[in-house]
């Protein structure tokens, strides 16, 4: 092969590899990601056997322990609709009433939801503002 053709061949090969990789990336991210739902969306649309990323705030006074299981309810960020969640596994430090959380859940019996083990994340408190301030910052 003459050098120019060889170079073009290499370029095409490299670009193809990059495209295949990028395609894989795009495809897997769309298929692996579980959709984020608010409690009211979850109640309306959740199918048994599917998993969802539930986002919302922990309802005041709803946290209970039963053995190794943690029970709490999650409500809409700006509303009162809430769903009960049963959870096992590690609980991040910032978890508390009123805190925004994300947890991977699937529909259990009726309107209760069972969380995947260790899937609880509190929304990263990256702003680390005092809560009262954070509220006023958002508004």
């Amino acid at each position: 092969m003459d050098p120019a053709r060889k170079r073009r061949f290499r370029l095409v090969a490299a670009l193809t590899a990059a495209l295949v990789l990028a395609g894989g990336l795009v495809y897997t991210s769309f298929s692996a990601g579980s959709p984020a739902k608010t409690p009211s969306e979850l109640l309306a649309t959740a199918q048994p056997g599917e998993s969802y990323k539930l986002t919302g705030k922990v309802v005041e006074g709803s946290i209970r322990h039963e053995g190794d299981t943690l029970l709490f309810s999650v409500r809409d960020r700006d509303g009162t609709t809430s769903v009960p969640v049963t959870y096992t596994g590690s609980v991040p430090d910032p978890f508390r009433e009123g805190r925004e959380i994300i947890v991977t859940v699937s529909r259990g019996a009726g309107d209760t939801f069972v969380a995947e083990k260790d899937s609880l994340v509190t929304k990263c408190p990256s702003k680390f503002e005092a809560e009262d301030d954070a509220a006023s910052d958002m508004s």
Binding site: S34, S90, K123, K127, F128, D133
Partner: protein, 726 residues
């Protein structure tokens, strides 16, 4: 005082505005006095911002709650050590820190280049002052750190207890130093493109800045990981969280940049690639700052309300479009002086290393922004988790480690079979021996990815060892120095090269630690009562007794109540450690009240207890059951409110907590939740990063050039003397 701060910021903004105009006017007309004036305005900016920074820092140290920022992020009960760092926990304070650091680095670089690169420097100065103008304008118009309160509160809300950790004192300044240091090569790349001076001079002038940026950004990332491991109570060091990813992306492209510039310096190749990389790195640094401060990925809906969103998006869009336009505009100048001769050459390996790093960066970028992308495409906000990231980053990391062994050793232009055999026989043997040996370690063959990482690690360690040995031996032969001396002087005389090897070694050691601790980790969450025993990966853990400390916390974070546990850890019947994890409770950040509840209503944090050895870490955290305690506290508070006069309530509440409630908990504690993690080789993550930092410092150390110059000066003097005598 606030007026002084506000005035300093306003002056800083005017200086920036003037300096940008002066620099551009000077560059266009070639009038040196205007360029000089622009350079002096960089110094003036540093002075003005130092004043502003000093005023704010002083207000934090003095707990001057007439400053709204101080009242919102510090308090009289915040330990002094943490009052200083409370400044950058606030939006305003952290932006001020950013632009202050920028002004310092900018002053340094314009000072160092004051007699060089006459065409490039004015444009670079304009870019740096442009950054300054953007951030000071934000501080003046959008988020002023010098807002004052008409009625200062008696006490502030305090620093978030999660941030009361030594790593958090230096982690943000490190990250921001990295971000702002990368602004320097960015500005010079822009300057070089505008001024049509795209040879390697701009790279040489800013090389140290790029390297320093890479180093401190890396240190910042490691400190963040360390903080996460010790403070967040979940036992991990990396979670692919948006904020972590934000700092990783510029570090990845920056790593690619400091490698690929060597190709341009040596062979005049990859010019388009280098300017693109450094422009991308500069943009990613601003993006990183933006992601952390705006909260856009926390919630898209909060984004519209954030005061910073629109200006930052404008800046990032402007930087991106401007960069693309510049590269396209100057593409004729950026042609390569040479072609790639062979795929078996150092150039090709460096190029491949760059492609892998950029691919890694793209994976991280895609995963981080996927919630926004998916919302735009499908209308549904979807996110990808750590398994998705691991699927792509682990194989890429393996390739990267292999390249870090091959790249520095393979010949330039074209490697021959003889050359390859001579260079790689020993390292390959190291890798194969490690591979075979590990095949017999039970459990390891089941984890092929971790196994490959270990084997590749041995290969890279082999290359570094061989290089050091060969170099030192050669030096001993020529100079007759004993081996240790030969080794030191070898490293001292080729700091960049051997520093680089050490960095590679450190990174590989770190990756081995990461691979081992993530592949062979055992984690358990157990509810235990005193006397109970749990088994975790061969360890036997006995919950001996509960502890409760009031107003006495050894780590100095200002905790009011610490509920802990004494754990007796043994292995094979032998006692190995006594661990004391605890959970700390802090006073509420709401207005003071005389109740027990108030004393402990703040953000609780885990004080983890770790037994760390070179072979493995045993990590524990405790989460006490607060239900019974809460009932007792509620009863106590009712009694206090009913029977005690208001002014005595705070003291009575404290005494109740200390003398009744806490001892009660110790006497008859309810079962507590324990998280226990046994993971091998975690210590090597920190050791590896120390090695890499050491290597980076060696590469950065400025001695060789200066020393050489001094040496030649002496030589010249001697020759002149000899000539005079002759």
């Amino acid at each position: 005082m606030a007026t002084v701060g506000r005035a300093a910021l306003l002056i800083a903004l005017l200086i920036c505005a003037y300096g940008v105009v002066a620099a551009i006017y000077g560059a266009l007309t070639g009038r040196r006095e205007w360029v000089e004036s622009a350079r002096r305005s960089v110094y003036a900016l540093a002075v003005a911002l130092t004043v502003a920074f000093g005023v704010l820092e002083l207000a934090f140290l003095r707990s001057d709650f007439s400053f709204a920022v101080v009242a919102g992020h510090s308090s009289t009960t915040t330990p002094t050590f943490y009052k200083a760092s409370a400044m950058w926990s606030s939006q305003e304070g952290s932006l001020l820190l950013w632009v202050w650091l920028l002004s310092l680095w900018a002053s340094l670089v314009v000072f160092l280049t004051r007699r060089r690169m006459r065409e490039v420097v004015p444009w670079a100065t304009a870019v740096l002052l442009g950054y300054g103008a953007f951030f000071t304008a934000l501080l003046v118009f959008a988020v002023s750190p010098f807002e004052t309160l008409a009625q200062p509160p008696a006490d502030g809300s305090g620093l978030n207890p999660l941030l009361r950790h030594p790593a958090m004192m230096i982690h943000p300044p490190m990250l921001y130093s990295g971000y702002t240091l990368f602004a320097i090569p960015f500005a010079f790349a822009v300057g070089a493109l505008v001024a049509r001076r795209v040879d390697a001079e701009w790279i040489r002038s800013t090389r140290r800045f790029a390297l320093a940026a890479w180093l401190v950004l890396g240190v910042g990332i490691v400190l963040g990981a360390r903080w996460s491991y010790n403070e967040l109570g979940w036992g991990g060091y990396w979670a692919w969280d948006a904020v972590e990813n934000a700092s990783l992306m510029p570090w990845l492209t920056g790593t690619a940049f400091i490698h690929s510039v060597m190709i341009q310096e040596k062979r005049g190749m990859l010019k388009i690639w280098n300017v693109s990389l450094v422009l991308a790195t500069g943009i990613l640094c601003v993006l990183g700052t933006f992601l952390v401060r705006s909260g856009i990925l926390d919630s898209i809906h909060a984004f519209g309300a954030s005061t910073l969103g629109v200006p930052f998006v404008g800046l990032i869009a402007g930087m991106s479009l401007g960069s693309i336009a510049l590269v396209v505009w100057r593409r004729d100048l950026l042609r390569s002086e040479h072609r790639l001769d062979s795929l078996l050459s150092r150039e090709a390996m460096f190029l491949l290393n760059n492609l892998v790093l950029v691919a890694l960066c793209f994976v991280v970028f895609w995963g981080t922004f996927f919630p926004l992308i998916s919302e735009a495409v499908t209308g549904e906000e979807t996110s990808v988790g750590p398994p998705w990231f691991a699927r792509y980053t682990v194989p890429l990391a393996l390739v990267l480690v292999a390249l870090s062994g091959i790249g520095p050793l393979i010949a330039w232009r074209r490697a021959t079979a003889v050359n390859l055999r001579r260079t790689f026989a020993f390292p390959l043997a190291c890798g194969v021996v490690a591979l075979v040996a590990l095949l017999f370690v039970p459990g390891v063959p089941q984890k092929p990815l971790a196994l490959s990482m270990f084997a590749l690690g041995a290969f890279v360690a082999g290359t570094v060892g061989q290089e050091l040995w060969r170099g030192a031996r050669a030096r001993r032969t020529t100079t007759g120095e004993p081996l240790p001396v030969a080794l030191t002087s070898l490293v001292r005389r080729n700091r960049r090269r051997y520093g680089g090897y050490l960095v590679h070694l450190g990174i590989v050691v770190m990756f081995v630690g990461v691979a081992a601790s993530s592949a062979f980790q055992t984690a358990q969450d157990r509810r235990l009562s005193p006397g109970d025993t749990a088994r975790v990966d061969g360890y036997e853990v006995r919950y001996v007794r509960a502890t409760a400390e009031v107003g006495n916390d050894p780590s100095g974070t200002g905790a009011m109540l610490s509920l802990g546990a004494v754990l007796d850890v043994s292995k094979d019947g032998r006692h190995v450690a006594t661990l004391r994890p605890a959970r700390s409770f802090y006073p509420s950040n709401r207005t003071a009240s005389g109740s027990v509840e108030w004393l402990i209503a703040g953000e609780p944090t885990s004080e983890v207890a770790v037994r760390s050895t070179l072979l493995s870490d045993f990590w524990t955290a405790v989460n006490p059951d607060m239900r019974e305690l809460q009932e007792v506290i509620d009863q106590a508070d009712e009694a206090v409110a009913a029977d005690i006069p208001a002014e005595q309530q705070p003291m009575v509440a404290f005494r109740l907590l200390r003398d009744v409630i806490a001892p009660n908990y110790v006497e008859d504690p309810p079962p507590a939740m324990f998280r226990m993690i046994a993971s091998p080789l975690v210590a090597w993550i920190w050791i590896g990063s120390l090695i890499a930092i050491g290597g980076g410092l060696i590469a950065l150390w400025p001695a060789p050039d200066a020393a050489r110059r001094r040496a030649t000066a002496t030589l010249r003097a001697r020759v002149a003397q000899d000539l005079g005598r002759a």
